[in-house]
Symmetry: C2
Amino acid sequence: MTARRDHSKAGAGRTIISIDAMGGDQGPATVVAGIAYSASKNPDIGFIVHGPKEELERLIAKRRGLAERCEIRHAPEVVTMNDKPSHVVRHGRDTSMWSALESVRMGEATVCVSCGNTGALMLMSVLRLRKLPGIYRPAIAVMWPSKNPQKHNIMLDGGADIRADAKDLMQYALMGASYARNGFGLERPRIGLLNVGTEEHKGRAELKEAYDLIAANARIADFDFVGFVEGRDLPGTKCDVIVTDGFTGNVALKTGEGIAKLIADLLREAFAYSFLSRLASVLAYTSLARLKKRIDPRRANGGVFLGLNGTVVKSHGAADSMGVSSAIKLAFELAQSGFSERLAARVASAALLDQDAHPEPQPEAESE
Amino acid sequence: MTARRDHSKAGAGRTIISIDAMGGDQGPATVVAGIAYSASKNPDIGFIVHGPKEELERLIAKRRGLAERCEIRHAPEVVTMNDKPSHVVRHGRDTSMWSALESVRMGEATVCVSCGNTGALMLMSVLRLRKLPGIYRPAIAVMWPSKNPQKHNIMLDGGADIRADAKDLMQYALMGASYARNGFGLERPRIGLLNVGTEEHKGRAELKEAYDLIAANARIADFDFVGFVEGRDLPGTKCDVIVTDGFTGNVALKTGEGIAKLIADLLREAFAYSFLSRLASVLAYTSLARLKKRIDPRRANGGVFLGLNGTVVKSHGAADSMGVSSAIKLAFELAQSGFSERLAARVASAALLDQDAHPEPQPEAESE
């Protein structure tokens, strides 16, 4: 089994993606515009779209041919960015986010996409989809721009859980390796463990323990462990996947965003400074546009929740239609590769190496 | 008392800075070039320079007039970047780093500058200079480029200690506020506490405790506490000083460096792409040079060790002569403002607020 295909409503033989149309900063019109763009680019995607029925029908009807590709599921309520996750999971049954995850839980779609409140989406995903057998802590995998051939590195955890012990970090390495293999097509991804120095004697105790656990799993899980890496390697070429706890990962992610924004602002000011520099900006327009595309978080949009029964792609809250479409593209690729099933098999085989765990044999797990 | 002035060798009435000439990646010639540049710009600095006597004499003699401004202290050995800090503090008595700190310990200079191994410099500084009364953990304060009027924000701890509990974070806030007041001339610096979100319910338990401690000290210590801030606020305008533990701070710092380097590389490639873009880069040359100067870590060079009896400025290991000169300039400014004494007074007054500590009254402490 790879991706689940639906033969009823949203189109015969299509890969079905479940979309939470609400909760993004830009509103459902932007999400529907992103759906329309993806639909026009890729005839093999079908959509189940969750939100207030009348509003969605109106927005979808405006786009030629889109109604035939979308099944609308009515959900009258919206999770806002300010809602407390614990409140949402208790009282959020009528929200579009709940409904979108339900489609994955019921097997109507393999991947869900949402621009909503990250904390609520994570907590709800864990409670409704449940963790994969053997997974201690799910993680959010995020993309960094880099000069590696695949143009992006993967970091996890980007902020699902502020804690992570050595075993969690080892599982993040396994999940990150699987993601890099299925998302980037890398046969033997290079994994690094984030620390304050590359020397083995540096850093917190749990990092030294994680170092040994990850090294012990490298051969069987088919990745290269490059050892400790530093903050500068997140957008670097030393490895493809960087493993860290969700606190450090989240701070690093937002720091990178902040520095990129500062440089963009200062670059804009520099080009506006004089007649010559304004002329230069006109001449360099296409080159700068190429650079922007390379760095643009919209292009690498989509943190992916790993370690659950089903895959959830969290799009940036401020994502525009291009950002939503990028997230849908990623969701489609992961669904196509049967990523979730492969990841489950990988974790099951690694659990055999973990002396504290005694997993049941899982004969139905496929090899990756 | 403000800065210590020496009336003997290095020049009557000058502010004396102690310089470790060895241990940087570029060698002592670069350090001496930085000293020469600072000496030519500022007639009020005198230098005690530590390293192998003959080599330093030769390098200094090449620069006209520099020999009269420098007193050389012979130290035959060098701390390398690969030396383990614990080994260096046991066996490093003949190193230039040890000798440079000794000048501060003996009161010959108020500030020491070194490009050497950060871990060794920190450990040796703590052991030889000793912590200020009432300080639990010293910290390294580093600069971030920002669009605040002073053009830089201060973050601490940049990596002196990978741990920090709530009380340490509170002291970092006090030390950071003092540094911002003396280094930037800000009357009421705005302090932020780094977390994964700005909501009060988010983050680790010690951060919530630190939040309350810092808030309780804001009035008496004369700073504004803006509460939790995120990674994107490190180079932002929301506050002037950002407080975090040395693990998170070090990862954030190196992440920022990595992203800035990636963007610079991609910008260079973008401008080299076509004839038009190469022409554009010529036209925009001065604007881009201005931007580079703004972001250039050499200009904001100098992490400062806070919380010791005496101030230590750690220059970047890869610093060129301009970088060394920037670090000397910062050292001079801090020496001039009597920063170390003011910081001690500030910590003493804050200790009165700390219910677990019972400090002796310190009648000789000056008001800031």
